[in-house]
């Protein structure tokens, strides 16, 4: 971080404390402010530092920092870094930025960052990490869970730390660049291609059914399983997953789907099909 960003020692200390404390963003999650108190908790060292001589201003900063907030945890450090930069400017010239500007900037950024952050962290990074981790773990390999953790955590901290510094140093011009160039969309698209390939591989490894039923053609006995296998090994698993996806797309609740599958399996087992 030393050479990449033009930040002095004092500022770096404040930003690093914010990065550390922002882990607890959901620490007192509630339906009124959602992560609002966690947001304030992350900014507290900066507020204490910038308004250390004036209790009134400290309280005002605490109040505006604890407004409603809800977003993705690692991506949030960007908003917080930007917010700290604004608080710093405000502490130097109190009239230069009004409360409304800070609150509205925060509120306008949290939505898009939540959308991008959640889909990037959970639908992409975690799928890639799980794709590697799960397929090793099915063989009982301890590197499965370890790599799962390592891949995710490395990405997590790379984003979390850099976004804090980017927010602080570049401000919202960075967000404009990200959206205008369409860079982020392309990165997310490329990453979701990796994700969907991994899901395809995982489906072939983990979803399987064996059909026991047989048909008799005179003397010869043909099992259904061998018919399916001759068309495409793992075809049934593939069809089940695609069928489930269609159901979910049509609005069937996943838990209903799970119960239906369990009931059908018991039924088919009773009939001797599976």
């Amino acid at each position: 971080m030393k050479k990449m960003y033009n930040v002095d020692k004092e500022e770096r200390k404040l930003l690093n404390r914010m990065i550390w404390r922002s882990g607890l963003l959901q620490g007192s999650f509630n339906m009124v402010r959602m992560q609002g108190f966690g947001y304030l908790y992350s900014l507290l060292p900066a507020i204490e530092h910038y308004y250390k001589d004036d209790k009134e201003k400290q309280i005002a900063a605490m109040q505006r920092s604890s407004s409603f907030y809800n977003s993705n945890i690692p991506f949030s450090t960007f908003v917080m870094g930007l917010n700290i930069a604004m608080e710093k400017q405000k502490s130097e010239n109190y009239e230069s930025i009004d409360d409304q500007t800070i609150t509205s900037l925060k509120t306008s950024l949290m939505g898009p960052l939540a959308g991008i952050g959640d889909s990037f962290m959970f639908n992409t990074v975690r799928i890639i990490a799980a794709g590697i981790g799960v397929s090793l773990a099915t063989q009982g390999n301890i590197f499965g869970p370890l790599l799962f953790l390592a891949i995710y955590l490395a990405t997590f901290y790379l984003i979390k730390i850099n976004f804090a510094y980017l927010g602080y140093t570049m401000g919202d011009s960075f967000i404009d660049k990200l959206f205008q160039g369409g860079l982020l969309k392309k990165v997310t698209q490329a990453a979701s291609i990796i994700g969907i390939v991994m899901v395809g591989a995982l489906v072939s490894q983990m979803v399987d059914v064996k059909i026991l039923s047989e048909v008799k053609f005179g003397e010869s006995v043909i099992s259904f399983q061998s018919i399916f296998d001759s068309i495409l090994p793992g075809l049934l698993g593939l069809l089940i997953v695609l069928g489930c996806r269609t159901c979910i797309k049509k609005g069937v609740k996943p838990l209903v789907l799970v119960l239906a599958i369990m009931l059908l399996c018991v039924l088919f087992a009773a009939l001797g099909v599976v």
């Binding site: 882990g23 301890i142 995982l202 018991v266």
Partner: protein
């Protein structure tokens, strides 16, 4: 079983607590907690293998923004404990995991209700400018309210619930148990389906089948599949930047003439 229950719930509580402090939301995933629980109960192998299946099953469930209908963490800890302590079949334990996880999830309703009731208390600390007290309150609420209740449920579940579950399952006819085993092999598919539904677009759907073929037909090891996937993603990314060839336009017109 009380001793094992205590160890499993205590260690998993600490893991979840650390995860909450770091904000990583990854140490509480089924693959990690199943491995930890397996190691604590003396059967690391079962823990890892079940962790893989549970991770697959819950993969889609947890990413639906905010409203999670199940608690994958306790569903995994309890399923692995059940499989190891009663030597039950892994697939049966897997099938039992989801109903358990959705039952334990009721705890989260309680937790959020109580934390919402604490909102005026936090607001008062802010209005009075009590920074230290605010920080401490935030940390305490995280540990005691947001984390601990789930592990009390897990402790009770392992200490007193598992035997009853075992004797209940012993009463079931064998085809029910076999059906649940089969269901255990299919349920990861529901997790994948939720996930697919989120990332599926017409443009990239074909790569899902590519992944299936890489693994099933070509029997590529996982790392090879990752590299293939990255290759595809990067080439799509690079070629998407190229300007569209100009030839496409006249040929399109031909088509229209042809159909008219």
């Amino acid at each position: 079983m009380v001793a094992q229950a205590l160890i499993v719930s205590l260690v998993n509580f600490l893991v979840c607590w650390i995860d909450n402090i770091l904000g990583t939301q990854i140490f509480i995933r089924p693959l990690v907690v199943s491995t930890i629980t397996g190691a604590l109960l003396g059967d690391l192998h079962t823990g890892i293998v079940m962790g893989a299946a549970l991770e697959a099953m819950y993969m889609g469930f947890s990413s639906i923004g905010g409203s999670i209908p199940v608690d994958p963490n306790s569903g995994s800890v309890l399923a692995v404990s059940f499989a190891i302590l009663t030597k039950a079949d892994m697939d049966t334990a897997l099938a039992l995991s989801l109903p358990i996880a959705s039952a334990v999830n009721l705890v989260s309703l309680l937790v959020v209700t109580v934390s919402s009731m604490l909102e005026p208390f936090f607001t008062r600390l802010i209005n009075e400018g009590k920074m230290k007290q605010f920080s401490i309150a935030h940390q305490v609420v995280n540990a005691v309210l947001m984390t601990l209740p789930y592990y009390i449920v897990i402790f009770v579940g392992i200490a007193f619930g598992i035997q009853h579950l075992e004797s209940f399952i012993a009463l079931l006819p064998s085809y029910v148990i076999h059906g649940m085993e089969v269901a255990g092999g299919i349920l990861p598919g529901v997790g994948f389906a939720i996930l697919l539904n989120m990332i599926w677009t017409k443009e990239i759907a074909v790569f899902f089948f590519a992944g299936f073929v890489f693994s099933r037909f070509m029997k590529l090891p996982t790392f090879a599949i990752v590299i293939m996937a990255a290759t595809i993603a990067l080439s799509v990314y690079f070629f998407a930047n190229q300007p569209a060839p100009a030839v496409a336009v006249p040929s399109n017109d031909d088509k229209e003439d042809f159909f008219q």
